[in-house]
Amino acid sequence: MTTILALGAEKQAATSLAAAYPDCTVIFASDRDILDGSDLANVRMVHATPADATKLAAAADHVVPLCPRWLCGDHTLSRVFDRLERALPDRCLPVRAHRPSSGQWIVKGDRWNRPDVPLSGDARQLADVTDPHGCGLVFQPYSKTTATIMSIGRRERAGAVHIGTVEVFQERFQRDVVLQAGETIDAPEVLGASLEVLDALDHRGFFTLNWLQTDEGLRLSSLRPIPRAVFLSFLRGGVDILRVASTVKVVASGVRFIAAPTYVSYKRLSA
């Protein structure tokens, strides 16, 4: 039986992955004690830390990182956006390592998503922000938006990309961010811009690009090397992002999803 390793399985995308591939064994690896998903017949859970990722990956057919904490290499927003600001200056919102003294800013995690509710405001309102989770902090201009659109997928190389564009109607910002409702859309501008960004970085592997529709046009606000909880939707839309891409294949528009609250019993992973 095919084995899929989900690294950082405390994220919402873990159960999406398990539900989308019921004929595969999906191993939920996490350093958190309490996980959702114990009721899913194809799920096995292991307590592990990011240091165990390479060893665990050796025994899996597919490895799906769900949180950048579990990846090697520098995938920080500061580095990625530094490159993009030079390569595609009009495409992205700037990312700053230090709190600017004027204007409205939003605080983000540099290496991975900063947990809990996003904080935004001016320099005085953000003066107490610290980094207790070790994700690193960066600051981005706070923009009024009319829409949030994510490009999610997996890229092998230029011209070999599985990708879907999702209009996000609602996210919940908790300990982990939850994709609450969205719909795959036909958005040629977003698709083109996403491929342009990925090519500029020559990004390899999974990705989620967060695009904001602003008064100044479409602006990239984030790029993380992970997928989100859309595996079922993408399969419904005709794209299996676990398969290696050989061309550019785009998820069909009109697939709608919500996040349904579920309650299941659990056993502590460390027990």
Binding site: A181, R236, P261
Partner: protein, 333 residues
């Protein structure tokens, strides 16, 4: 066939939906202002998108129309805003032709507002009230860490834990921007979060109480629980009943959130919510179906059997699972 309308399709409404949606004798109507709210898409429900409850005039008109159009027999508000709307309408003389709880308005006014609740209990039950300050004039004497929270939100919305005096100005600036002066400052209580869900009958008699403890919270610093278990804490249940009595009594579902001090073991009241708690489905998982008790009380039916406390051993974790939907629910009219 009973037509039951549950106001809001999130949090505690999920317990009602899971408890009623498969019942052939119930036609379950779910309302929410958010067309993407998960409860609207649960199998077996009739969904309705309504105006925000804070838009009181339009909301009430919409509610009146739905109650008549769908011949609703039983009305159960489950979110803070819905309850606030309904309680105010009832106070203003609203007489809908439905079975619903009619809690005392004065008690609601105390319980719904953290500042009023703490002030009300400060003399009556001082041992359960964390030190509380309104305004920041006395900040020089506060023992840090302290907690700043809006007076009328729940579930951790807008809350900041301020660990050092130097961080106070930024936290106050943020909360004032969003909530103006509607916030309070409290002593930080280290420890675990406990919730007690209770149901009072229409005459104000306590029918059942179920205490629960959170194992994991929505936010890294605390807030509402997203994993937990049922516990046996008769002393805590007694405290809750005393709080409800001190507020003027109650009718319908209510829950009280507490922190148990990590060092002293003492319970401190954090807030009251005039509804079942968000993860009250835990009680249903354990054979105590609070929505069925609510329904029985509103229809004068016999109360359902419940499992004894010693057999309430199932814990829970809340997940948010990707679920495909055919079409979005549209706003009526």
């Amino acid at each position: 066939m009973k037509n039951v309308m549950v106001l809001s399709g999130n949090a505690s409404a999920i317990n009602y939906i899971k408890s009623f949606a498969d019942d052939p004798d119930i036609r379950l109507h779910i309302t929410d202002a958010d067309p993407y709210c998960p409860g609207l898409y649960a199998p077996g429900v009739t969904p309705h998108v309504v105006p925000y409850a804070r838009d009181t005039v339009r909301y009430r008109a919409s509610l009146d129309r739905l109650l008549i159009e769908h011949a609703i027999d039983i009305l159960i508000p489950t979110s803070d805003y819905d309850i606030e709307g309904v309680v105010h309408y009832l106070k203003d003389g609203w007489v809908p032709n439905v079975a619903t709880f009619r809690p005392p308005f004065e008690a609601f006014a105390v319980l719904r507002h953290k500042g009023r609740l703490m002030a009300h209990l400060a003399e009556r039950m001082p041992l359960v009230v964390p030190q509380t300050w309104i305004g920041v004039e006395e900040a020089w004497q506060w023992p840090f860490p302290i907690v700043i929270k809006p007076t009328r939100e729940s579930g951790g919305k807008g809350v900041t834990i301020v660990r050092h005096r130097n961080d106070l100005a930024a936290a106050v600036e943020r909360i004032r921007t969003r909530y103006d002066h509607e916030f309070l400052v409290q002593q930080f209580i280290p420890g675990n979060t406990y919730i007690v869900s209770m149901i009072y009958d229409r005459d104000g008699r306590l029918v059942i109480s179920v205490p629960m403890r959170s194992h994991l919270t929505f936010f890294t610093w605390g807030g509402g629980g997203c994993a937990g278990e049922v516990v046996d804490e008769p002393g805590l249940v007694r405290l809750c009943a005393e709080v409800a009595d001190a507020a003027g009594g109650w009718s319908g579902p209510i829950n009280f959130e507490w922190r148990r001090h990590a060092e002293t073991g003492a319970f401190y009241l954090m807030e009251a919510n005039c509804r079942l708690n968000g993860y009250s489905y835990l009680t249903t998982m354990n054979g105590v179906c609070l929505p069925r008790i609510v329904l029985a009380l509103l229809t004068d039916a016999p109360l359902p059997a419940v499992t004894p406390p010693a057999r309430r051993n199932r814990n829970f974790v809340l997940g948010f699972r990707e679920t495909l939907v055919d079409r979005w629910v549209e706003r009526a009219g």
